[in-house]
Symmetry: C2
Amino acid sequence: MLLMSFEDWLPDSGLARETREYVAGQEEPFLFNHSVRSYLFATVSAHARQLAPAVDYDDELLFVSCLMHDIGLAGGHSGNQRFEVDGADIAVEFLSARGLDADRADIVWQAIALHTSPGIAERRPLEVALTRAGIALDFGAGAETIDDSLATEVHRALPRLDIARRLTDAIVCQAQNNPTKAPAYSTPGELVRERSQPPHITRLEQLANHGRWGS
Amino acid sequence: MLLMSFEDWLPDSGLARETREYVAGQEEPFLFNHSVRSYLFATVSAHARQLAPAVDYDDELLFVSCLMHDIGLAGGHSGNQRFEVDGADIAVEFLSARGLDADRADIVWQAIALHTSPGIAERRPLEVALTRAGIALDFGAGAETIDDSLATEVHRALPRLDIARRLTDAIVCQAQNNPTKAPAYSTPGELVRERSQPPHITRLEQLANHGRWGS
């Protein structure tokens, strides 16, 4: 594979550029890098499934969904809902104000709200399923399918910065301040529970630690 | 409140009747009774929110969603997905074959697939949110809002039959036969984990045991 700068892979619509600038200004690099990597890996997943942008899925929706999937963890964005749902609301507000129509906005809402819902996101519209697939790849699930040189290039441009631990820290910190953000039987709730009980490390972090990316 | 037979509360469309007969034939009484009670409590929840059938929500969709929400646990209906998603597929297949259009069928799919997703179902179309609200009431969450005489009448007509324990048994049994049905960070996965670790009782069962209905 001929490697390009990762920036050449990103959609260049006005909405995509505005979204990228917005998220870069809101999120710490560990979250922003994870979000961009998730998009890149989502497109790899789409290609592996022989799905083509514009034909099979809406690449702009996939991009903004991946870029904004953790925006509910950025400073100042925490409401009273689980971070995925707060983030979905923030994304829809941002994108609708820039002209995204309601039907496409709802797909972004689902992609973000359901990105921690195993077995459900996979069955929603393709952009929703691919968002989850890209995020899972960035935590090492199925990452053996990623080409070595691509993986090296992506991680050189977008370092991991201990994403699994710091993401978990952010979710747990929000819940400590507001337990309504971490209901039982939700991913945030289970992460909080795992951190509070021996061995005090989450399955998410263990998956990442033992996966191809090593953290 | 003037009490009627609970049957007078149920929608009487052909689709509603067929659905009820189908589920009654597929599910053991502990599941069927829970499903019908969930619908009745969902309508109580709707009324408390000043939402009216036909005006604010589609009562037929709410009924079939509640009636079929655990169909993925009925004998012979277990595929390779979590029971909520297998059940959503079964419901859509059944209802589409009887003329339900794709948009309404997707609402039923979401209501069933998301009924164990806290904080997410509440934000989807009203029929999805009300389905979850009715189920939660049947496990005792918020049940103090239910009128005493109504509660007595509903439970006389539709006995509880140890629903929380037997429902959990059914989910755990499916997962023992096929672990792919219980992924980490999903409700089925967490129920399996809770049953496997001290004190070997799930938070769902504890909620029910300590709630108004007592089990």
